[in-house]
Amino acid sequence: MMIHTLAEYQKQLLAKKISSLELTQFFLDKMAQHNALNSFITVCAETAKAQAIHADELRAQGKAGPLTGLPFAHKDIFCTRGIKTTCGSKMLDNFIAPYSATVTEKLDDAGMVLLGKTNMDEFAMGSSNENSFYGVVHNPWDTRCVPGGSSGGSAAAVASRIVPAASGTDTGGSIRQPAAFCGITGLKPTYGRISRYGMIAFASSLDQAGPMTQTAEDAALLLNAMAGFDVRDSTSLNVPVPDYTATLNDSLQGLRIGIVPSFFGDGLNSEIGAAIDNAKSVLEKLGAQCVEIELPHHELAIPTYYVVASAECSSNLARYDGVRYGYRAAQPVDLMDLYKRSRSEAFGQEVKRRIMMGTYVLSSGYYDAYYLKAQKARRLISEDFKAAFKNVDVILSPTTPDVAFKIAEKTHDPVKMYLSDIYTIAVNLAGLPAINIPCGFSGQLPIGMQLIGNHLTEARLLNIAHQFQQHSDHHQKVPMMESSS
């Protein structure tokens, strides 16, 4: 069997069977070979090689840590000092941050090698990666399909094994949905588990970074390095970080899994339902028992989300005004013209739509009816989960109502697009951790399932996912791809 995972490369590096530089060159070649997927906005070939050489030196000096020399990719939402950070937008096409995100620093300090910055929906708004200024990303399982979004570039790159692992961010499903569409493991941790500093904001109360990997074990390895309190992010949680790899092999005996029957109704692709049924029986054989639960306010999740997320984004994106950095319209005649044209010319349609929605719901006279009401609904959604976790340890659900759809299929219908996040959005509103795990195929397209946990139960989610992956092989399937050169 070919080696692919971070954990396996880690062993190879440790045994000195391969150098970080060789590994890095191997992936840089693969990235070039498959650039038709369009999963990268920026490739960092030179800096990556320099990092790899440095990592090899550290290893030779006996100073290597667990992740030293392992290559990976960042979603282009994480600021990387000296390397362009675009957030998928024309607005930041020329933006080179003079600082790094905390996550960037942490993985850098851990000795990881940054191969490049992955494509994404503009400002992380989208479910198909079709909203990127840098073009659509193709799903490696069927290049006519979308990879999901907004972390579509990371998902496609990991699925096609042109990088071993990548970072993503998840505001309403942006890690889990593309992970499901591309057949990889994607963890959205508890809100505040990973610092948001230097991660370009979409909706601050919902945004959360996380690992996108081939296996739960790799996700645990990455989360170990990514998680932790950060004085620069007031909303990060000041709670110790456990070793997520230490509990991967814990028993699932007695695990109580909640199932929401209404999630498996008409709106769901029946093959996804069947795949999850199979997964259930795997988990039951490992000692888990399934319990039916209800989340009575779940239907409020999508409207609530689009009020909260849009409101926050309308304010978060106000800083892109053409004054200090980023895109500036040519020859503005006055201040208003500078603002209007810079923003009109550099923001894409979906971003504009959400800024307008957000501005509207925050306007005086509408604030109570929308924003305040959405905050109330958000509390109800959280309380549903709280009640559910009194009876179950985790909740098992589909990640998406359907498998990856065709490029351009839904671009004309934003509401239909929004509905593809129906299973993932409530999790962000409640700030909970959740993981997508590959659990089957519909034709050649992957199916994902989602495990949702209570606050700060990442270790348990990774444990369950790992145990499932020890008893299934969906995550090991690799798409057949033609190289593009």
Partner: protein, 478 residues
């Protein structure tokens, strides 16, 4: 006059923290443009604000000093609007739940009566940068050094009824924030800025008139003038059958007028909502108790103590308690063992005059309080007269030595030897027979002539009291 004036003030006090309210950049005034603005102040992508605890503590200090309700949980909100010197496109401020709730401040009016002015609230917020319209050939320059500087916005109730009251409130507040050490009070540099809400109504009317907000009134004098102008303008409009439009008006100090800046209709919809990047600010009893221990003696307490303990009159006590450093200086002089009234006279008289002349602050005085104390002791123990003391003071000001050194070196010691003074008096009487005859004849004013002659002869060093007594005695006998 049938009109009643109603004034409420909004004061922005820049908090004297070392770093900005949400970033680690320095707050010092006067640096080169954009050298004190970090990625957070510039509103770069992905950066996040973190509350400077010192700013919170200063706000709480103020709250305690005005007996305000302190919120156990206050919330930072975003005030959204576009402006080139507002880097994020929103200002972080407190909106629905400010850190300092209702309180009050007592002011003393000119006639000595005390009036209580309600404080509606005080909240923390960040300052914006500055737009520079000169020197850029039709373009605008942006300096973001000030962006993110912590401000405490102190909002009063509409409790003031004249520009005098408004100025008295402002001065009292100005003294207070400097006492607390939370604001340097420098109005020229914009550390203490004031907007006034002014309206008029018929006396006895319950409903408030439509108000106008006056901006750009950044000195006590301008506050008074702008309000007076605005009150006249409003009364004029109303008496001519017009109505007042709610608007923001700009004070033009050169023309001494106010003019429309923006009407209510033009006002922004700020789309306030809680800032999701900042958690609610939690203040517990323990913190409040800790801040309480850091409160200095407040101006009014100090003034009362000066009156009771030192027997000063209200005026002196007021002046000496108007600034913490001045009060400290005064008390340090008294501590040397000098009579409080004498100390007060000298600090408020000679010392303040000399400081003002050279535009120095009290803590920049070339004469430290102990040195002045020594000088005043020499008056008390009759080594020198008050008049000679002024000469010694002038030498001390020029750093020529201590009072004793100067007195010694320049031979300024008072002549207290009765024999010596008597000898001089005898000579003067002998040399001025005409004056003596006139004096004896009833021209008692000539007594001063003899004193002057004696002082001249002793170069001012004769002990005045002793001289007076001996002279009287000799003249009578002569």
């Amino acid at each position: 006059m049938k009109w009643e004036v109603v004034i409420g003030l909004e004061v922005h006090a820049q908090l004297a923290t070392q770093s900005k309210i949400f970033s680690g950049a320095a707050t010092a005034y006067g640096a080169l443009p954009n050298t004190q603005a970090c990625a957070i102040d510039l509103g770069m992508p992905g950066v996040l604000p973190v509350l400077n605890e010192e700013a919170l503590h200063m706000a709480l200090k103020f709250g305690l000093a005005v007996n305000a309700h302190l919120s156990h949980e206050s919330v930072f909100a975003r005030k959204n609007y576009f402006y080139p010197d507002l880097p994020k496109g929103y200002q972080i401020s407190q909106y629905e739940i400010p850190v300092v709730g209702r309180g009050h401040l007592d002011i003393t009016l000119d006639d000595g009566t005390v009036k209580r002015i309600g404080i509606t609230r005080a909240h923390l917020e960040e300052d914006a940068g500055k737009s520079l319209h000169e020197d850029f050939q039709g373009m605008t320059g942006i300096d973001l050094n000030r962006a993110g500087t912590p401000l405490l916005e102190i909002v009063s109730e509409p409790d003031m009824r004249s520009s005098n009251e408004a100025v008295a409130y402002l001065k009292t507040l100005h003294t207070l924030v400097r006492y607390l050490g939370i604001c340097d009070g420098n109005m020229q540099e914009g550390s203490f800025r004031c907007d006034a809400n002014v309206s008029v109504r018929l006396k006895g009317a319950e409903k408030l008139g439509t108000r106008c907000e006056l901006k750009n009134i950044n000195s006590f004098r301008f506050v008074e003038r702008a309000i007076n102008y605005e009150v006249e303008r409003q009364i004029d409009v109303l008496e001519n059958g017009g109505t007042i439009a709610q608007e923001t008006r700009l004070y033009d100090a050169d023309a001494n007028t106010t003019r429309t800046m923006r009407s209510k209709e033009e006002a922004n919809d700020y789309r306030y909502f809680p800032d999701p990047d900042l958690l609610p600010v939690c203040v517990n009893e323990e913190l409040i108790a800790r801040i309480k221990t850091t409160l200095p003696e407040l101006p009014q307490e100090k003034r009362d103590r000066f009156m009771q303990h030192y027997g000063l009159n209200a005026y002196d006590a007021n002046v000496l308690s108007s600034a913490r450093e001045l009060a400290q200086y005064f008390e340090a002089v008294v501590d040397v063992g000098v009579d409080p009234k004498l100390s007060a006279n000298w600090v408020m008289g000679e010392l303040l005059a000399a400081l003002n002349k050279e535009n120095l602050a009290i803590d920049e005085s070339p004469i430290p309080p102990a040195a002045l104390g020594q000088l005043l002791q020499r008056i008390t123990d009759n080594t020198i007269s008050g008049k000679i003391a002024k000469t010694v003071f002038a030498h001390m000001w020029l750093n020529e030595g201590s009072a004793d050194e100067i007195i010694e070196k320049q031979g300024l010691k008072q002549v207290t030897d009765t024999g010596a003074i008597e000898k001089i008096i005898d000579e003067i009487i002998a040399n001025n027979p005409q004056q003596l005859a006139d004096y004896k004849g009833g021209k008692e004013k000539l007594f001063a002539f003899f004193v002057g002659q004696a002082m001249k002869a002793t170069q001012g060093k004769a002990n005045p009291q002793q001289l007076n007594d001996l002279l009287k005695e000799k003249l009578q006998k002569a």
